[in-house]
């Protein structure tokens, strides 16, 4: 199984030579000139018994490729493999080619913990790129802390967590929420908000932050309703009537999974015209639009840090590389891009630290910059989250977002926001 993956990766990395080289040409600072010329001795870069040889270093990929979460996590696996093949084509990390072992979390949280242990204890992976839901991250966190592994976690999430053993490449809640609310209040003059969500920790925590911000920081604004639905709920007609009755300026929706499709289809069928009714979501990426149908969500606004349509050279090279590897119709959402950052950030950190040792990687992480990120420049904060911009996009009928706003500066990650808990 791993041999298959390895050989197919090699094949892919050959195919990827062009794309990798062009990406590297855009980022001269990334060329590991010194490392390529003479790889440092294995004993020097690996003092803790990780799976590092003179020519390879082993990492793990841990996502669900079966079960209900496969729908979301497939894109992350693809992005991580793309990043690894590009890094290998550009000379690897500290002179070593990356070899990846992929395990299937199978949408089952205890299984995630078991597979994480296998990757750390049996395979001695120098880093693991993986997890998607908060539940899976919470399940593997004790494993990573006990066996001192390094996890690069890609999903935007509710915050309220920080670990030496995790780098969070997605946004924590305040990075995704505050700037979007400010924008909708300022540019569209919105005063009243209806908060919706699926009933679990991420939407609830996010809506709590949104409510505090609306009521405490936006003058004259108020929340006129707040509603939660069980995961997988498919009938939204009643709440749509409730929304019609309270006539909010903004519907703030954090509905996930299959419920999303039902919600937007029923919203349209109920005659709510998203070109007149402002709807702001933080849970619908280009990935989800595929299932919802572009026509059904066109006109809605999403607050993310990345859209496939971003117009910058890094992103063009990234999208081209992705399409070359996975086909022209590839859809790239916010989390997929964040997953792509993982291997690159790890590579840059390892080169900064001059070592694969997890303690040194953890210590060297703050301050690591990645100028080649598709979303634009990012930097790792002391709290192991990323400084990144918040962006608002408008959904188009073709399934893409059109960028309508981005923060001028990088937004500081604040996983434990004061006054919002």
């Amino acid at each position: 199984m791993t041999d298959d993956i390895r050989s197919s990766l090699r094949r892919r990395s050959l195919m990827q030579g062009m794309a990798g080289a062009s990406a590297a040409a855009l980022l001269p600072s990334l060329l590991p000139g010194a490392a390529r010329a003479q790889a440092p001795a294995t004993a020097a870069v690996n003092t803790t018994g990780l799976a590092v040889t003179d020519s390879t270093v082993t990492v793990g990929i841990l996502h669900s490729i079966t079960g209900t979460m496969a729908i979301s996590e497939t894109g992350s696996v693809e992005a991580e493999k793309l990043a690894i093949s590009q890094i290998n084509a550009a000379g690897g990390v500290l002179g070593r080619q990356i070899r990846s072992i992929q395990e299937d979390g199978a949408s089952d949280w205890p299984n995630f913990a078991e597979k994480a242990k296998k990757l750390l204890v049996n395979d001695k992976c120098a880093a693991v790129f993986g997890c998607w839901t908060s539940a899976s991250r919470k399940a593997v966190l004790p494993v990573f802390e006990q066996y001192n592994g390094m996890l690069y976690y890609p999903t935007f999430y509710e915050g309220l967590e920080q670990s030496k053993n995790v780098i969070y490449t997605g946004q924590e809640a305040t990075q995704q929420i505050l700037a979007g609310l400010d924008w909708v209040n300022k540019t569209r003059g919105s005063k009243t908000f209806y908060l919706l969500g699926s009933d679990y920790i991420w939407p609830r925590t996010s809506n709590k932050i949104a409510r505090k911000h609306i009521e405490g920081h936006l003058a004259g604004c108020k929340v006129v309703g707040e509603d939660y639905f069980p995961l997988g709920h498919t009938q939204f007609n009643s709440v749509i009537n409730k929304i019609k009755l309270s006539k909010p300026d903004v519907i703030y929706a954090i509905i996930v999974g299959g419920s999303n499709v039902a919600f937007y289809k029923q919203l349209k069928a109920a005659g709510v015209d998203l070109s007149k009714q402002t709807l702001l979501t933080i849970s619908v990426t280009e990935d989800e639009i595929g299932g919802i149908g572009g026509d059904n969500i066109a006109g809605a606004f999403a607050c993310m840090k990345y859209f496939q349509s971003l117009d910058n050279p890094n992103n063009k090279a990234f999208v081209a590389g992705f399409e070359k590897m996975y086909g022209d119709k590839s859809v790239i959402g916010d989390v997929t891009q964040a997953a792509y950052l993982g291997p690159w950030l790890w590579k840059l950190t390892a080169e900064k630290a001059g070592s694969f040792d997890v303690d040194k990687i953890a210590a060297a992480s703050p301050g690591v910059e990645f100028k080649g990120a598709p979303e634009g420049y990012v930097r790792i904060h002391e709290n192991h989250h990323l400084w990144s911009k918040t962006r608002v996009g408008k959904a188009l009928a073709n399934g893409q977002y059109e960028l309508v706003y981005e923060t001028a500066e990088l937004v500081q990650p604040d996983p434990f926001p004061k006054g919002y808990q």
């Binding site: 490729i65 079966t66 079960g67 209900t68 496969a70 729908i71 497939t74 009933d199 707040e226 509603d227 939660y228 639905f229 069980p230 997988g232 709920h233 498919t234 009938q235 007609n237 009643s238 709440v239 749509i240 009537n241 409730k242 019609k244 009755l245 309270s246 999974g257 299959g258 419920s259 999303n260 499709v261 039902a262 289809k265 029923q266 349209k268 069928a269 109920a270 005659g271 990935d287 989800e288 639009i289 595929g290 299932g291 919802i292 149908g293 572009g294 026509d295 059904n296 859809v331």
Partner: protein, 308 residues
């Protein structure tokens, strides 16, 4: 929350809310009917019911693709072709499953539960391998997606009306088939006393196969209809299965009238409660009430008088 709204507003909301309840009722009937036929008439607990629905949804998806490619002019009417194809595909698949799997387990009802659950996992993975793990977007003709404006402030979802029409059609057809035709008499005879039915010359194996096929076919129609209101993904069937079982068990197994009455009760309760409470709380209250009623009346709302 009734403060500060005009009577006009409240009136139109109540009208729309009434329709929301009726649409939910139709959705419940449609998803539970196939299960009720199989569970009620054959005593088989079909855990793969949701996956047969998704089969219908994928057939609809493929039909929409076919029409976009080869018959773009007739796209507006593709849905009706898709419903028929979904019925046939799910029905045939059901008959194949009955022949391969279920008929060996009639004397062991709990084993059918495990076997069909395994089947549902297998089908999910098959869908995932064939169609990919991501949701597929099923394009609908524009006329099916909008709202009908009854007055300036009353809008009724057209796709809800289509579901209601489809449900009525299927329910009437099933009623006629089971209670008015000879074949239905055979089904009921087999259900009530398999050995005696066989003794008087009814081909019980054939009746079983056709009944199972009918139940799965109705599931396929439901899946096809739900592409208008929900998602189409390998695991989407799981979203419906709990509600479907709830309706069938609450209604009393073996009674199609019970299924319809129970769908009506549950849908009205949920749709009303969701308006006044949060969605999750409404679910909790409905489930608690159902549990309470089933404790008092374990056989469900309606029960057929059968000599056991």
């Amino acid at each position: 929350m009734l403060m500060g709204y005009s009577f006009g507003d409240l009136g139109s909301i109540m009208a729309m809310q009434g329709f929301a309840g009726l649409i939910l009722f139709s959705v419940f009937v449609l998803m539970a009917l196939g299960l009720a036929v199989i569970f009620g008439q054959m005593g088989v607990i079909n855990m793969a019911h949701g996956e047969f629905m998704i089969l219908g949804a994928y057939v609809t998806f493929l039909t929409s693709r076919l029409f976009t490619t080869y018959l773009p002019g007739a796209f507006g009417a593709y849905f009706f072709v898709a419903v028929v194809l979904a019925f046939c595909a799910a029905g045939l698949a059901g008959m194949a499953v009955e022949w391969l799997l279920i008929r060996h387990l009639y004397r062991r009802p709990l084993d059918t539960l495990l076997a069909t659950w395994g089947l549902s996992l297998i089908l999910q993975q098959v869908y995932r391998s064939v169609f990919g793990a991501r949701e597929v977007g099923v394009d609908q003709p524009e006329w099916m997606m909008g709202a009908a404006n009854l007055s300036e402030s009353i809008q009724i979802p057209i796709n809800g009306l289509i579901v209601m029409a489809l449900t009525t059609l299927i329910a009437v057809a099933v009623y006629l088939l089971i209670f008015r035709f000879g074949w239905g008499k055979q089904i009921r005879a087999v259900m009530q006393n398999r050995a005696m039915a066989g003794a008087v010359g009814i081909d019980t194996a054939r009746v079983d196969r056709l009944t199972f096929g009918l139940g799965c076919g109705i599931a396929g129609v439901a899946g096809s209809a739900f592409t208008m209101i929900g998602s189409t993904s390998p695991t989407a069937g799981q979203l419906y299965i709990v509600d479907a079982f709830l309706v069938v068990v609450f209604g009393g197994t073996g009674s199609l009238i019970g299924t319809i009455a129970s769908a009506f009760t549950i849908s009205q309760a949920r749709s009303t409660l969701e308006f006044f409470l949060s969605g999750s709380m409404a679910q909790v209250v409905v489930l608690l009430t159902v549990v309470g009623i089933l404790m008092l009346r374990p056989q469900g709302l309606f029960v057929l008088k059968v000599r056991r």
